[in-house]
Symmetry: C2
């Protein structure tokens, strides 16, 4: 029952010798979502031992090179390895044209798999993905070009039944699924046993908000409030605020200030400008505003533990 | 007076966690030539401390992704860093269309530098670049699509004058340049002093032949004969000969056999299939045919020393 966030790239537009452009993997119950796909993403997937076969869904925040240039190589590799399963790409419609143009030049044969393209808007929040375990919503951002972040929400997992109660109340198998989904139980004597006596307290659904590229905007607060992990860009130090505003980016201080209002479990800052060889000053600046801040580092995996709610 | 060959990527189409796609740097007298530009080339340039400002010429062997996908990021980074100087790209004309399509989507502003595109044929050898220090010729290859390798030739450097002779023969400054270019000298007594008595033996012009992607072809022998470094692809072991022929590639044994006939100073094999985690068997196979063989390894720089010719 994993919920984790792995960083494949922490740089902004210009990579450094240590930092790759934006790419991340969200794992919800062993379902893997690739979030942005900068140059070298496929190499970083390999290095982090995330099998290519696990990637069926790719979410692209916006159509800038540092978030998309890794797609060409990844698609090519999928093709060369004989991938058969559908690949879902969620992105601004512009990317569809780019991939189609690209296909003209680069693929000698038809791809052995389908690319299913899901066009994204960036004006209002939308549910763009749903399965039994998770939902994904867009988070409208404010960048130089249309951009959206993504809110990953775990669906409440089924309740755990207390084994001793199954025996004591002589619960038949046919009633188990109902109890796991929250129903009460009527025993042989006709007594109603309330669900909360039969099950452990439910797990708190976990959540992650991914917000890049964007300038500081409080309009996203309702969506990012109390998430377990808030990933927010911090391209610059606050002494470069003017440049940040001009280019549609945030400063580390702003990311921290926003986190103070949103109160996530932790804030991860990333998308660092190549001018910062050392990211420590960015981390310090954000931490001054919000203590539970971490700097994105290639290869680090942030796991959100399951926690039972109080009854 | 450098002449060196640095490997940025030794993989074939599918990169591994250790091996990047094709990219190499030839340095002739501090003039840097980028040869192929696979995904991640800009990161590899940084890691190998080869300044972006030094790259004015890019040679692309053929239009497959593993030789070109790094161009998009590199051009974008050049632009973001405010490059002003012309960038010369030598490639099949198809690449021009790709870059033009790409520009439509990705560059918000005009690039601050000119891309000067030099279309390459792949049917016959051609002189495609020349300056005071070097010449570059195409080497027609045999791949699934039009492809050419590159022959880098150092021009003979000026002769070194023996200082003692300048004093003994009372050579005036005005005659120095002539002697360095090979002229004899007439002294005050009217004696003709032959050039070979005034100068050290000349340096042997250095050379490197870059041959990928290609199946084995002896048609290139006249061009690669006796070069100092022969870089030749060895995508497969010889037990996959059929696959090599089918896909237009060579085996390590074939690369070694060709080297035995061409007799280069050394053979470097590369462009290894991702199926080989360890490249040692490829190296052994090629070495069995030609002992002075080395396997391409990311970050390794092969230097060709200056050697004086015998008179």
């Amino acid at each position: 029952m994993s919920f984790s966030f792995t960083i494949l790239g922490s740089s902004s537009a210009v990579p450094t010798s240590e930092r790759f452009p934006a790419a991340h993997v969200v794992n919800i119950h062993e379902r893997y979502f690739l979030v942005d796909c900068g140059e070298g993403a496929q190499i970083q997937l390999r290095r982090n031992k995330i099998g290519f076969g696990k990637i069926d869904h790719i979410f692209i925040s916006h159509i800038h090179g540092d978030h998309t240039f890794g797609l060409f190589g990844l698609i090519s590799t999928f093709s060369l390895l004989g991938r058969k399963s559908d690949l879902h790409i969620f992105a601004n419609p512009l990317l569809k044209s780019i991939l189609e143009d690209h296909r003209k030049y680069y693929y000698e044969h038809p791809l052995p798999f389908n690319i299913i393209f899901h066009p994204l808007g960036s004006k209002k929040k939308e549910l763009i993905y749903e399965d039994k375990k998770a939902e994904v919503y867009t988070i409208p951002l404010k960048h130089r070009i249309p951009a959206c972040g993504f809110l990953f929400l775990e669906k409440p997992p089924p309740l755990n039944i207390i084994k001793e109660q199954v025996i004591r109340q002589e619960i038949p198998v046919k009633d188990i699924a109902g109890i796991k989904s929250g129903k009460d139980f009527v025993n042989k004597k006709g007594e109603i046993i309330p669900n909360y006596l039969l099950t452990l307290p439910p797990f708190k659904p976990r959540s992650l908000a991914y917000c890049t590229d964007t300038k500081l905007t409080e309009s996203i607060l309702p969506q990012i409030k109390e998430v377990d992990i808030l990933y927010h860009e911090a391209t610059y130090l606050h002494n470069m605020l003017e440049r940040a505003v001009e280019t549609g980016h945030s400063t580390a201080k702003q990311a921290g200030m926003l986190a103070r209002k949103a109160n996530p479990g932790k804030l991860i800052i990333g998308h660092f400008s190549a001018r910062y060889k050392d990211t420590e000053p960015l981390l310090e600046e954000a931490r001054h505003e919000f203590s539970r801040t971490f700097a994105a580092i290639e290869g680090e995996c942030h796991t959100i533990e399951q926690v039972r709610m109080k009854r």
